[in-house]
Symmetry: none
Subunit: 248 residues, 2 copies
Amino acid sequence: MEQHNPAIILVSPQMGENIGASARAMANFALTDLKLINPRDGWPNNQPSESAHANAVGAFDIMPPVEVFENTADALKEYHKVYATTARPRDMRKTVMTAQSAVEDMRQHQAQGLKTAILFGGERAGLNNDDIALSDIIISIPVNPEFSSINLAQSVLLVAYEWFQSGDNTLAKHLPVGDSALAKHEELNDMIARLEDELETHNFFRNPDMHPTMMRNIRSIFSRIDMTEQEVRTFHGIISALIGKKKT
Amino acid sequence: MEQHNPAIILVSPQMGENIGASARAMANFALTDLKLINPRDGWPNNQPSESAHANAVGAFDIMPPVEVFENTADALKEYHKVYATTARPRDMRKTVMTAQSAVEDMRQHQAQGLKTAILFGGERAGLNNDDIALSDIIISIPVNPEFSSINLAQSVLLVAYEWFQSGDNTLAKHLPVGDSALAKHEELNDMIARLEDELETHNFFRNPDMHPTMMRNIRSIFSRIDMTEQEVRTFHGIISALIGKKKT
């Protein structure tokens, strides 16, 4: 069975030097799969790419090519479990883990051949609520509350460090998913998108302003379930049944 | 009894930006005692100090003044226990600890009112044998052997992070967070019972023999969510919407 190390996904990174320093931190701890979503200055291009390579001190040479995406959902399609590094969200109900707990969780998924990814927000604003809603688990790094701003590449370093540290303990523990395979994000997102369509059709969102918030809350419920492929099919069946004709 | 956090001591640091980034990393994890031994460009002076302050993003403002020494022995005078971050020395017999073990050792000294310091070598050559000989314990950070060079400030960050982690007993791990109260079993069961009724009405259970198994599977999905009262209400709303009239 093929085993996958976690991917590092930078959402809207601004400075090439932070992309480079993130790559260096990854290479230090044997992570090689870097993806970028909407890098401010594009990728690759001359100025930031130069700065990135200077800060990477050779890390890009031992990594596969960096992939670039236009939005978070596309970047996450192939992953079974997605972790968002961010402060605890106030208005979303998500499982919160320390970096140390999160890497153990990743190792358990890895041992089953499943794919994981870790989202990091850009320098200016971090991850937005929609990015967080697309994630399954929050990684919250405890910091000094009086001086809490951590540099992007430093966050990557800390999580990558914990990942590497945990490498000696690869025993797969039992995951609460049963026999069927964990659904990929694409399957889950398709199901949620269908639910959203049907709710729209059925006047669920009476106040259009509340539509995004309500969908984030609904998404947050499903992202906590670790749904299997079978369970996603079951939910499709539930939706089909509820919108269909009644017994006569 | 006064308790002392570990001091961070940089031996022959070269670049102001690394001194600043080290200060920032310290402040992130509530360390404030920074000492420099023979900084290449002096301290403070204009050029490196500017660069240092840019990279410190305010960390120096919450720290006591940085102390500068001419040699390692002088800088270490007041400490009870000194830790040297370095690769394992080949020709010296020293206790080697991971960062995680070392911070526990520091905490034990701290609890007794003793003072500890952590030595970091400069960018070019790291700690020399004399510096290591003056130390009590080696801190060795396991890294990818194929890409092992860690930046000075990153080493400081990792050790400071471990220090802060070891003192943090307040972060709830693995707990879903949010404002709304966890739903009682009664509320959850009423919601599931209503869903079952509606699914029955809408011909979801085509094969009556499979009805109990399918309901167990559906219940198993919901039981994994730790739903809040608000989320149970949201699901009631979803059911109501899906079985209701479409937009006309």
